[in-house]
């Protein structure tokens, strides 16, 4: 299959930047810094261009000029007030914009967050013990004859209560309280372990993704950029380390 020049160029750039970033695993070096700065610059540049095109042109300028939607100037005006932060004498005007944004943001987020993350989660935690009665209201529906049926729910209930107790500092953690707090620590450790395990999996997935691309770009149809750029990176690292060893740091 014949590949276009842009695809081949993209493969060379992607391979080079991947290898330069991975060279940090050996030691900090100028190749890594080049790739790091390029990454930050390109992603910021892309975001600015996309935002300008989508927000300024598509959502503001074109509707005003093409459709005469002059009411859009109100949110634009509120947004522009934020820029007064850069003019010390007019900086007080920015408070109106911030007040509007904080007010709307908090008004939207607080009730929804309480409902979604606090009330729903409390409901789920006590669900193994309590149920909603057919005519409304709450009923105790835990089956003492078959405790295994709600085993997971009971473990979660014990975990939530013991962890909350561990963070309850108004009473001394002694006697039975110490046992509950220690159980809380145990549950926290298990949770941190699970989170760490998933984090390791995620990082390994990223490495697999990069190596998959490097394997793909070692193909002759791309001009074998992986092979040539590995040689270039290794050679550069050797030269840099030799040059570094001839100039010992000043005491």
């Amino acid at each position: 299959m014949e590949l276009s020049f842009s695809v081949i160029l993209g493969a060379w750039i992607a391979t080079g930047l991947t290898l330069f970033i991975l060279s940090f695993l050996y030691e900090d070096n100028p190749l890594f810094k080049l790739a790091e700065h390029l990454y930050v610059g390109v992603s910021l540049g892309y975001t600015i261009v996309k935002t300008y095109d989508t927000v300024v042109m598509t959502l503001i300028v074109r509707p005003i000029l093409d459709k005469g939607e002059w009411s859009l100037l109100i949110p634009v005006g509120i947004g522009m007030l934020m820029l007064t932060r850069y003019v010390p004498k007019a900086a007080w005007l920015s408070r109106y914009a911030f007040a509007f944004i904080v007010g709307v943001g908090a008004g939207l987020a607080i009730p929804r967050t309480i409902s979604s993350f606090i009330l729903k989660q409390i409901e789920d935690t006590v669900r193994p013990l309590l149920g909603i009665a057919p005519g409304g209201g709450v009923t105790f529906d835990y089956s003492l004859l078959n405790p295994a049926s709600h085993l997971n729910g009971i473990i979660i209930l014990i975990g939530v209560v013991s962890v909350l107790f561990y963070f309850f500092f108004s009473v001394e953690h002694s006697g039975p309280g110490k046992t509950v707090a220690r159980a809380g620590i145990l549950f926290l450790m298990i949770s941190f372990g699970a989170a760490f395990g998933y984090t390791v999996m995620a990082r390994m997935s990223l490495l697999i993704g990069r190596l998959t691309d490097l394997i793909e770009f070692s193909d002759a149809s791309y001009g074998r950029p992986t092979l040539w750029l590995v040689l270039l990176t290794v050679a550069t690292l050797i030269i840099l380390s030799r040059r570094g060893s001839t100039h010992p740091p000043n005491q």
Partner: protein, 281 residues
């Protein structure tokens, strides 16, 4: 210096090399370890499988190229499944830096399935506001996205026939790498506008989303590369995720062995030092 001491002070670059080799070798010589399907991934698959033809399926690709290895295979598999089921696909992103990648994923899978832009699927692109976009879509989808990614007016597109807001969406899946992502879609979308929601995420944020799954706030969760591999297996189109699972297993094994060995050396060294201290006193 004893062997245990030398092992505990091992150059970290040797560990990087071991992990690198454990990743590279299975990628070059795949073994094909079996992949067990978890109930959380099956939740998303079964729901899409049960949707009638022509249902409105909203896919929010809330990630950028930094999370591509994990979420790209998930997005490809879900889109392949949705196109195979002849669902009306409405795709979008809440991450401005992921717009180009999302467009590429959708265009590639639609072309593969022979689907037509505007009729079978639409890419709405990105709109500013994060979570506020979801609320805006809940009120009026055409107000949040007056035009699609290509600049064509969304009103009148056959794929959006009968769709006014999020209440008309049959099923939504957010593939999130952070905030805004799955949580935002639940808080500002499903909880308010009552549509069914599934999630896909990177491995890092998966543990934080399990409480939502357990409480039924989301009906399924595809976690990381493993979740993507499970979905690829379910749809019978093995891709990049399945190819990476051997490497994933090998690296995990290497890490477990390294942790175990280092602990053994640590405890043996401590015991040795205690014995020496005892002899000295």
């Amino acid at each position: 210096m004893t062997f245990a001491e030398r092992m505990l002070r091992i150059d970290r670059r040797i560990i990087f090399l071991v992990i690198g080799l454990c990743t590279l070798v299975p990628l070059l010589f795949p073994v094909g370890l079996p992949i067990k399907i978890s109930s959380e991934v099956r939740g998303v698959y079964d729901y899409i499988e049960g949707l009638p033809e022509g249902s409105v399926f909203l896919l929010s690709l809330d990630f950028d190229p930094a999370s591509k290895p994990e979420l790209y295979p998930q997005a490809i598999s879900i889109l392949r499944h949705a196109f195979k089921k002849n669902l009306r696909v409405v795709a979008m992103t809440l991450w401005v830096s992921g717009t180009g990648l999302a467009d590429q994923i959708l265009t590639q899978t639609a072309k593969e399935a022979g689907k037509e832009n505007g009729k079978d699927y639409v890419f709405l692109g990105w709109s500013p506001g994060g979570s506020a976009v979801i609320l805006n879509m809940g009120q009026d989808l055409y107000n949040a996205f007056p035009a699609d990614y290509g600049g064509k007016a969304t009103k009148g597109l056959p794929v959006l026939a009968g769709v006014q807001n999020l209440r008309d969406v049959t099923y939504a899946v957010s593939l999130g790498a952070g905030n805004p992502g799955v949580e935002a879609w639940y808080v500002f979308g499903k909880d308010k506008y009552k549509f069914e929601l599934g999630g896909g995420c990177t491995g890092v944020i998966a543990p934080g989303l399990y409480p939502l799954l357990r409480s039924g706030q989301i009906n399924g969760l595809i976690g990381g590369l493993r979740g993507a591999a499970e979905y690829e297996t379910l749809i019978g189109q093995k891709g990049k995720a399945v190819a990476g699972m051997d490497a994933q297993s090998a690296t995990h094994l290497a890490i477990i062995v390294l942790v175990a060995i280092c602990n053994i050396f640590y405890f043996s060294l401590r015991r040795q030092q205690r014995r020496q201290d005892g002899m000295g006193s």
